[in-house]
Symmetry: C3
């Protein structure tokens, strides 16, 4: 395309049941016919901005040059801003969507410099204010693909004013017997039931972890009350586990994850996104 | 493409579980390699021709030049015709699919002139008669993309003979106290549980509506029997509602819709597509 | 593309809930920007290699030149090989994925000659061993699209060493009254509930079949115990059936299938993939 990016990475909570994502793709095709749309996913849970933000962070290292169009937007029609960001250089990556915390973590992962504009809103036809993906964001993405400079899309704003999500908890404490336990949160349950943690691997990770639960939340096979403090092996691949065995793996995003070979760790432990879990050294 | 449209807008009830839509895309790629396929949705409920037709009508204003390929086809293998339509000009929009009411409302929205042909059926290999999307419609779409005139695809037929769906109910009546109530039907429940009505907004709409139910069908929070005649505010954006509050909005297709902020109006009211609902002026 | 195929047919068990398939598409876009990705389906049941293999076999006759990228991979991270295959000629079809039986049936359907290489594994970053679709297979596909000869992707191996799935059962026996019954398995339940059988049609098929069940497995409307030995008409099209009637049809893959007009044969009979069913001549 003349001077602009030629790829649009598209993520939303639009689902596949309706034509929402399809209509946005049609608008992009009409306004920027040379751009190729790469769908990341449209099955972010409705209104779950944080899940969308985490998904973009996971995907970002694998995206080439282009524009990320992301729409998880419970505040559509309110005074929340629509924004376009350019991050990094000399070939910046672009991000277009609502200013609600969805875009910023991935944009910051690209790195400095960051430039931000508040999108100028076209005069809506009738009273329509509920589909900014189609009416505001897709036209902005198309303009970028057609070579428009970022500044032409609206008013430059201070990136420090962009809405920022709270970070997931991650802290250390000591068990009664003195062992250190690293607490983190389940940040993603994928299709297979793997539980990605907000914790990253460390060179000091033991070969076997003791799984720790916040007081009163112990769960296990089939529900609460089950084997608190169970031992979990750290493995390099699913195949090192026995069928049905729970293990800890460094997952495809270089994060620690609780997994079951050919099974669901989420089902085995009965937990979901947000659950706090601790990894401790095994008892002496 | 040489003289033909270069975009295919594809809608079906094929779902994503099987390879049906993928195989049709593969046939298009093989026969018209330069055409770009824009998937609208493949999650139309199985056999629900009317839902497919309404989805095409909603999407149509946002589609650029191209061919709409739509397949919701309970009559496949019967004597129902396969058709291709050209609507409007000088650059007509094309529609290819079964003659069962699916295509006509969107084609009529494009406007006159309308030209229709009954697709000539290729000799089936073996006894295969169950997948016209792959064997009849996709080849016809590819021929159009490759520049074939519409008339080359089959026999010209009178557009007035095309199958037409019944229109949704919409009428006015008076409540016992003399207030006028406008009755319409729920025409779409989207992923978020928003209830699109067959009614359009009017300059005379009051700021607050009284929701009316057909006799004996009163429903409400959690089921029947609940607050019939509840007051519903008309708002311009979701954000003007309190969390959980039911409101009336002009939705992204310029239709009236019952919505809940960050929630599901369908769940709140316990209704689905086809439910008749009335909007009345509030009591004096 | 310079000397390489320009189309990638992509099938997986990644689902649509997560960004897995999207990230693979992004990697392909980055490494082989001129290639077009045609998604076949990503809703193969998790880890169901045989279902993936059968889906590829069904789709294959409709795929033009290109590379099939297929990932259903319970053994990721184990010693199972990643492979690339070239089948047929002079313009071979390519297949890239795990060596677990997923690719071989479709590749053999293309025909001889078959050339196979074990993919050379790039040095993994960190300990990541769980996402070969992204890290091993997509780069190999991109290399082929960019014109790399198959042999450049790794070490040539003997195709006879490729993992082979067991074939579905298909055998004949005699009922007590001497009639011949042909036993086969349900190989696919599609979105509509049609039951594809591993049996193919024959010129000697009668107009009406008697449905036979393995001893002790008789099922029927709503569950076990129902009309064993029911008569099922062979029809050429759904439309020849009454609404709700069970019939046998030659389906879109030229296989025998049990179907219900505008209904689900799977629900009517209460069966799923793998169920053994018999088709017999009707009693004299």
């Amino acid at each position: 395309l003349p001077g602009g990016p030629d790829t649009v990475f598209f993520l939303s909570d639009f689902g596949s049941k309706d034509e929402f994502a399809g209509v946005v793709r049609a608008v992009l095709r009409r306004l920027a016919p040379g751009a190729v749309v790469v769908d990341l996913t449209h099955e972010i849970a409705p209104f779950d901005v944080a899940a969308g933000a985490r998904t973009l962070v996971r995907a970002l290292p694998y995206l080439g040059p282009g524009v990320v169009l992301a729409v998880v937007d419970p505040g559509v029609g309110s005074s929340r801003r629509g924004v376009a960001l350019a991050a990094g250089g000399p070939e910046p990556r672009f991000f277009v969507g609502p200013d609600n915390g969805l875009l910023l973590p991935a944009a910051e992962l690209v790195g400095d410099p960051m430039v931000a504009v508040e999108l100028e809103r076209p005069v809506p036809e009738g009273d329509v204010t509920t589909f900014d993906g189609r009416d505001l964001f897709a036209p902005a993405v198309a303009a970028l693909c057609n070579g428009a400079p970022l500044a032409d899309l609206g008013t430059t704003i201070d990136p420090d004013t962009l809405v920022r999500l709270l970070l997931p908890l991650s802290r250390h404490s000591r068990l009664p017997d003195g062992r250190i336990v690293r607490w983190s949160q389940v940040s993603w349950v994928d299709r297979f039931g793997n539980l990605q943690l907000s914790a990253s691997p460390s060179d000091e990770d033991p070969e076997v972890f003791a799984l720790a639960w916040p007081e009163g939340e112990e769960k296990g096979e089939g529900g609460a009350g089950a084997p608190a403090g169970r031992m979990v092996r750290r493995v390099r691949a699913f195949a090192e586990l026995r069928a049905g065995e729970l293990g800890v793996i460094v997952d495809a995003n270089a994060r620690l994850a609780l997994v079951v070979r050919e099974g669901s760790a989420a089902e085995l432990l009965g937990v979901g996104v947000g659950q706090v879990l601790g990894l401790a050294e095994p008892p002496a």
